[in-house]
Amino acid sequence: MKFAHMADCHIGSWRDPKLKDISTEAFIRAVDKCTHEKVDFILIAGDLFNTSLPRIDNLKAVVSKFRELKENNIPVYIIPGSHDYSPSGRTMLDVLEEAGLFVNVVKGEVVNEKLRLKFTVDVKTGAKITGILGKRGGLEKGYYESLETGHLEKEKGYKIFMFHSGIDELKPKDMANIISQPISLLPKGFDYYAGGHVHIVEDRQIEGYGLIAYPGPLFPNSFSELEKLERGGFYIVEDGKAKWEPIQVYNTHKIVLDCTNKSAEQVLEELNNSVKGREFINTIILIRLYGTLASGKPTDIDFRELFSVLQDKGAYFVMKNTNALNTKEFEEIKVDMKSVEDVEERLIREHLGQIKAGIEDETHAVKELMNILLQERPEGMTKPDYEKKIKEEASRILEIDIS
């Protein structure tokens, strides 16, 4: 048995005109590789698309590749991810499944209020596949907590579990703040756990479970991901061994410069020197500047000329990141924006005292309010009931009657 495991293709994620087709291109190359490798089937563990309703131009190329796979008798099994799942049910995944281009394996029944998943059997290999979708804010955790695991664990044969969630025990240090769940919520005894959602390349044999793998995205989705991963890829699994196949759409070149006690002119000069005598054909250049400038502001660094030089040297695209670049003039307001929580905290603190509700602990109240507003409407709850619940919660937090 030989199969491919992809995840987090995020087709349509980049918005810049030069990069908007890059994830589609990565997907095309990955599918070509699968066809060439003659895999028996392909797994996509969530976030094929960056939104539930992707742009038509992205869709066209993707549909064409799915048709090609179908013609080559390579079935595709997917689960929706936090980006392409829609609580309203309006998702392109349903349309493509209806057209017979792939199979969504998240299916089952509710028995005694527990979720009993059903297996999808791959006809060619007999592999039994099931899984749980990903939802925003890690809300799929509730599905795992209600999951009946006994029958899944007893099932005989080669079993694959697809999931789109972070796993506490496998999270790297720099992702400590992402929402995740303990591995103990996954059903035990599967041969392969095809993961998605966390953009890391990791495969690990875990006692009591099996091989748990995250292939990372097919193409990195942000500046920092490009810096860290440089390229995307996916796994080809054969005889129980997973081999990561890189997808190199463009080369990457990183320039990291400490600007402490340098002027804008000096920074520019050092950047120019660092690229002298080099070619950057088909390369995405990543420039990260950090430190505190001797004088002036980060905006005083005129990148236009440098960008033009790099393009002349064949660079496909140049990106810069000056988040960690400070200026002495404004040092007192520099903010350590490591995570969304940090940014939220800062914004809350900046706007404290503007509510006239006389709340004792305003920071706590705002955070609690944000959490309430994050809650999705539970299935089975009517809209008026949901609105009433939110209003009641908000009334309690703000200590005013808004019901």
């Binding site: 509710v110 509730g142 240090k173 103990s184 919520l185 089975g380």
Partner: protein, 511 residues
């Protein structure tokens, strides 16, 4: 109900004649009217009183014992009686209590305390349930809550002999705290008894999302398997935990300085330091052997492998995750039942250092106010707070004991042997929950460092039965006698039948 009458004494030692059949007990609470206020008093000693001389009493007893004569007294209730030494502990006026500075009038009737008398014992804003008020051995329907935020940050000492109810008390405290948002509690659980894998405990809490459980083996669904990445360890985490010699300790620090996060690996692989001959080779070999044993590592064919909780690959975010959970007001229970004491303390040291440093950072940046208090529950506290250990140097736990309250980080130190903890640290534990202690030196250590004057309470403490406690705190008006309810009885009251909510599974094709 009248229990007796004041007949003599002095402030702090008032003599009361007991009314016939009033059955005064040690520790019993009484009240006496004092103009517009009431004086709350407590019995601390009981003795006999008689109008008949000792010689005659002995003679009467002789008649009864030797001649089987049924000797009758005239007015026996008036002639022989019980006396009680009581001390006034608070003055109650207009529903508020203050420290007592007066005595009840001569011949004042002494009454049994009622729930109404104690209406000043209200539930604070951030309640921490300790138990129900106890008058002697009688449990009253008056729950005792302390101001949890203050109490937690100013450390709690729980002292008592085995079997006196320490675990039940801690279970109740954790259950009570999980209902509130003001604190996060780290529990190093050497008996794996608080989460309740197989019995009713914290996992059954109605706010179960506030309970996080880490265990090294066979994690039940929803719990996390405990893995800690080797690279998270630092030399200071071993301080007070492992008894390294000065040379060995210096070696740890030098290796860390030179090899950063890979310092343990470097020691195991016997990599060279840039400072030549800094240590004798034998020292490094000893350090290597001790680390291999302590961290349960294997070194063969020039490759390092991990068998236990410490791992080369997994567990990179474990400590940060725990710190974040605590910061979010969760109760984090770490099952350390499979570890040696040193490994348990090493893990505790690692997590506690992270939390403490984080909160210090928050304080510097003015962010501490909105954060919950974090408390660390530590069994057999003298292992890290004992005099002998501290003579060898400070560790993170003693640092927290000394200055944690400034940063909203506190300890719940549990021990049978409080006398092993230095007086200075005992004095910093501003709340002490005293359960039955038989050994006098242990009682003495507590009495000498209590927040209230307990100099007359030695007998009272010695007579504490299972589940009975005396709580002395800077945040209480007087030393509170309490009865700790059984966990099941206390916790099951909070359980509500599951509302019939239809669970939705959107995105799953049902059928």
């Amino acid at each position: 109900m009248i229990k007796g009458q004041v007949i003599s004494g002095e402030f702090g030692k008032i003599l009361v004649r007991q009314k016939e059949n009033a059955n005064l007990e040690l520790g019993e609470l009484l009240v006496a009217d004092a103009g517009g206020s009431k004086i709350l008093m407590q019995v601390f000693d009981l003795l006999y009183g008689s109008q008949i001389s000792q010689q005659n009493l002995e003679l009467i007893a002789g008649y009864s014992l030797e001649d089987d004569t049924d000797f009758e007294f005239m007015d026996p209730k008036l002639r022989n009686y019980m006396l009680a030494n009581v001390k006034s502990i608070a003055v109650i006026k207009n529903g508020k209590a203050a420290v007592s500075k007066q005595m009840p009038a001569f011949f004042s009737p002494i009454m049994e305390v009622t729930k109404e008398d104690l209406s000043f014992l209200t539930k604070p804003k951030n309640p921490l349930f300790i138990g129900n008020l106890r008058s002697g051995s009688k449990e009253m329907d008056v729950p005792i809550f302390l101001e949890g935020k203050e109490v937690m940050s100013h450390h709690i000492l729980v002292a008592g002999t085995t079997g006196r109810g320490k675990s039940v008390l801690i279970s109740n405290i954790l259950w009570s705290a999980a209902k509130e948002d003001y604190c996060g509690i780290l529990v190093l659980d050497p008996h794996d008894e608080y989460y309740g894998r197989n019995n009713f405990r914290l996992k059954d809490h109605p706010n179960r999302e506030k309970i996080a459980y880490y265990t090294p083996s066979n994690a039940p669904p929803g719990a996390r398997s405990l893995k800690i990445n080797l690279e998270l360890l630092r030399p200071q985490h071993f301080e007070g935990v492992v008894d390294f010699s000065d040379a060995q300790r210096q070696a740890l620090h030098l290796y860390y300085k030179e090899y950063g996060e890979k310092w343990i690996e470097a020691i195991i692989l016997e990599k060279k330091l840039s400072i030549e001959n800094a240590f004798r080779q034998e020292s490094i070999v000893v350090v290597k052997r001790r680390l291999l044993y302590l961290l349960d590592l294997d070194f063969s064919n020039n490759a390092l492998s991990c068998n236990g909780v410490f791992d080369l690959k997994a567990g990179e975010s474990t400590v940060a995750d725990i710190a974040r959970e605590l910061e979010n007001g969760k109760i984090v229970i770490v099952d350390t039942s499979n570890f040696s004491g040193a490994v348990e303390l090493l893990i505790g040291s690692l997590i506690t250092t992270e939390v403490f440093n984080k909160y210090r950072h928050y304080k510097m940046n003015g962010k501490l106010d909105g954060k919950p208090v974090i408390s660390v529950v530590l069994e057999e506290a003298p292992r890290v707070l004992g005099k002998e250990v501290l003579e060898a140097g400070h560790n993170i736990f003693s640092t927290i004991a000394r200055e944690g309250r400034k940063f909203k980080v506190g300890l719940v130190a549990i021990t049978q042997l409080p006398s092993l903890i230095p007086r200075q640290i005992l004095a910093n534990m501003n709340t002490k929950i005293i359960l039955g202690i038989e050994m006098k030196p242990e009682r003495q250590a507590i009495i000498e460092s209590a927040s209230q004057d307990l100099s007359d309470d030695d007998r009272n403490i010695a007579s504490l039965d299972k589940g009975e406690a005396l709580v002395t705190s800077n945040f209480a008006k007087f030393a509170l006698p309490v009865k700790i309810p059984l966990f099941d009885e206390f916790a099951r009251k909070d359980l509500k039948p599951d509302a019939a909510v239809r669970k939705g599974f959107g995105g799953v094709k049902l059928g």
